[in-house]
C-alpha cells in the first residue's frame, strides 16, 4: 500500500496560547501524530492549546478520544484546550457524538484566542 502523509500537526506559539494547526485525517493509524504533538506541548509547559481545524478533513472516534485526552491533560496542568474553525462535516461529527457539549468549541481562531 502507498504511504500518504495524511496528517500533519504544526505548532505556532502565540502570546497566551499555543496554536496547533491540524491538517489532514485523524484516524486510528494517524492519531499517534496528534497525541505526540499534544504531549510535546504539555512537556514544554504549554498548557493552553488552541486546535485550529480549518484543514482537518476527517476525524474518527480514535481522534475524538485524543482530543478528550488533550482537554483533560491541559486541565490537569491548570490550562485548557479550545477547538476552532471546524468544517461543517467535522462539526456534525462533534454534534452527533455530543463532543460539542464537553469540548470548548469556537467558530474562529480569533474567537478561541479571545476566550483564552
Amino acid at each position: 500500500m502507498e504511504e500518504k502523509a495524511k496528517l500533519s500537526v504544526e505548532a505556532e506559539q502565540g502570546d497566551k496560547a499555543t496554536i496547533l494547526i491540524v491538517t489532514g485525517r485523524v484516524d486510528g493509524s494517524s492519531v499517534g501524530i496528534l497525541e505526540s504533538a499534544v504531549q510535546e506541548q504539555i512537556n514544554a509547559g504549554n498548557k493552553t492549546l488552541v486546535f485550529d481545524f480549518q484543514d482537518l478533513s476527517y476525524i474518527s472516534s480514535a481522534g475524538l478520544r485524543a482530543l478528550l485526552i488533550a482537554a483533560r491533560l491541559t486541565q490537569k496542568e491548570g490550562g485548557k484546550a479550545l477547538f476552532c474553525a471546524l468544517a461543517d462535516h467535522i462539526a456534525e461529527i462533534f454534534e452527533i457524538s455530543g463532543f460539542n457539549e464537553i469540548l470548548d468549541i469556537r467558530a474562529t481562531r480569533a474567537d478561541a484566542l479571545g476566550a483564552v
Binding site: M1, A62, R65, S97, E101
Partner: protein
C-alpha cells in the same frame, strides 16, 4: 546471576585448532562468558550437538576421518536447529570453501589461522546467532500475541446474541463482518418482556483488546440494567454511563443506540448516545433519519442525564441500525460508501424481510469496496415490524 556462557563447538581431528582456541579465548572462558566444546569429526560433532541443543555456532575443519566437514554442513542444514557454521580450510582451497558456502556455511577461515581473524570471525558469528535468536523469540512472542487476539475476537463474537426467531409481528436480522483486528462494534437484541424488544448497536473508540473489553462490559451492563426495573432507554443509558465512567482512566468511549420496539403498537422508544442515527425505511420506500437525541457518547461524562425520544413504526416499516463501518467503507479510490448510497439502496428494499435488507446492504457495501482492505467492522441490525393484521 550472569547469563549462562555462550557455547561454541570446535570440530577438528588435529589438536592445533583446539589449542589455539583455548589459548586465544582463555580470559573469556575463565570469566564464564564463553564455553567451547570439542569434537574430532563430523559424527562426533553431531553427537555433541544432540546432547547440547543450546549450541548455535560451530567452527569446523573440512578434512576429517569418519565424517568430513562438508557432510557435517549438509547434516546441519537438514537438522531442525538453526546452527551457524564457520568452515576452516587450507589457504587456496577455494573449491571446498565454495562448496561449504553453498551448503550454507556462515563464513570461513583459512589455515594457517590468523589470531585476530579467528577472534573477529567468532565474534561476528556469535553476534549473528544472537540476532537470529532474538528474531526467533520476537516471532514466537508475536505468534502468541496474535493467538490471544484471535481468541479475544472469538470470545467477543460468541457473545453476539442468538437469533430471535421470526414471528408474525416482526423479523430481526443482524450481520457483522469483523475487521481483521479485534475490537470495534457491538450489536444486541433481546426481549424486555413479551411485547417489547430491545435493539442495540454500538461502536467503541479504538481497537484491540482494551476496546473489546469495553464493548463486552457495556453489553453486559446494558443487559443487566434493562432486565431489572426497566423504565426507559434513557434511564438505562444514564445508569450504564455512570458505571462505565467509574473506572475509565484511558478515556475509551462508546457510541450506542438503544431502542425498544413495542410490538403491540409499533412505538419505538429510544435514546441515542452519540451514535450514527439509524434509518426508518417506510413501507412506501421513504427513508427517514431517526432523529438524534441530544446526548453524548457513553463512558466519559459522569452525571450526564440521557434523553429519550420516540417514533412511530407503521406496519411494514423497517428499522435499520448501522455503524460507520458501512458508510465509511472505502474502495481503492478512497471513496466512501456514504449515507446517500446507503439511503438509496435502502429505498429499493421497502417491505423486504429483515434478512434480505441486511444481506443486500452488506453485499452492496462489499461490492462497492471491492478488494480494498476492510479497516473497520461492518455491522447492521435490521428489524421489520408487521403486526398481526387482525
Amino acid at each position: 546471576m550472569g547469563k549462562p556462557p555462550t557455547q561454541v563447538l570446535v570440530v577438528d581431528d588435529e589438536e592445533d585448532l583446539e589449542l589455539l582456541v583455548r589459548q586465544k579465548f582463555r580470559r573469556r572462558i575463565r570469566d564464564g562468558d564463553l564455553r567451547f566444546l570439542f569434537a574430532h569429526n563430523g559424527k562426533e560433532a553431531l553427537e555433541v550437538l544432540e546432547e547440547h541443543p543450546d549450541v548455535y555456532l560451530v567452527l569446523s575443519d573440512i578434512n576429517m576421518p569418519v565424517m568430513d566437514g562438508l557432510t557435517l554442513l549438509s547434516q546441519l542444514a537438514d537438522g531442525e536447529q538453526d546452527i551457524q557454521a564457520v568452515i576452516v580450510s587450507a589457504y587456496g582451497d577455494m573449491k571446498n570453501i565454495r562448496t561449504a558456502m553453498n551448503r550454507g556455511a556462515f563464513d570461513f577461515l583459512t589455515k594457517p589461522i590468523d589470531f585476530n581473524d579467528l577472534e573477529a570471525t567468532i565474534e561476528k558469528g556469535l553476534k549473528h546467532v544472537q540476532a537470529l535468536q532474538s528474531a526467533l523469540e520476537t516471532r514466537d512472542r508475536l505468534v502468541a500475541v496474535k493467538q490471544e487476539l484471535d481468541m479475544a475476537r472469538d470470545v467477543q463474537m460468541s457473545l453476539q446474541p442468538k437469533e430471535i426467531p421470526d414471528s408474525e409481528t416482526h423479523d430481526i436480522k443482524a450481520v457483522i463482518l469483523p475487521a481483521r483486528e479485534v475490537g470495534g462494534d457491538l450489536y444486541d437484541f433481546f426481549h424486555i418482556d413479551e411485547s417489547r424488544i430491545a435493539l442495540v448497536i454500538a461502536d467503541v473508540s479504538g481497537k484491540g483488546v482494551p476496546a473489546a473489553l469495553f464493548t463486552t462490559v457495556t453489553r453486559a451492563l446494558l443487559r443487566a440494567t434493562s432486565s431489572k426495573d426497566y423504565s426507559t432507554p434513557a434511564e438505562c443509558l444514564t445508569r450504564v454511563n455512570e458505571l462505565l465512567c467509574e473506572s475509565n482512566p484511558s478515556c475509551i468511549f462508546i457510541t450506542l443506540f438503544f431502542g425498544v420496539l413495542d410490538l403491540r403498537n409499533g412505538e419505538l422508544h429510544y435514546s441515542n448516545a452519540g451514535h450514527n442515527p439509524p434509518r426508518l425505511l417506510q413501507a412506501d420506500s421513504q427513508v427517514e433519519v431517526v432523529p438524534k437525541t441530544r446526548n453524548i457518547v457513553l463512558g466519559i461524562q459522569p452525571g450526564h442525564t440521557y434523553n429519550n425520544d420516540q417514533i412511530q413504526l407503521r406496519p411494514g416499516d423497517t428499522l435499520f441500525l448501522y455503524t460507520d463501518g458501512i458508510t465509511e467503507a472505502e474502495n481503492f479510490q478512497d471513496e466512501e460508501f456514504t449515507e446517500s448510497r446507503l439511503d438509496e439502496k435502502l429505498a429499493g428494499l421497502a417491505g423486504a424481510s429483515a434478512e434480505r435488507v441486511a444481506t443486500e446492504i452488506v453485499d452492496a457495501v462489499q461490492e462497492f469496496v471491492g478488494d480494498a482492505p476492510q479497516s473497520d467492522d461492518i455491522t447492521c441490525v435490521v428489524a421489520r415490524f408487521r403486526p398481526d393484521p387482525s
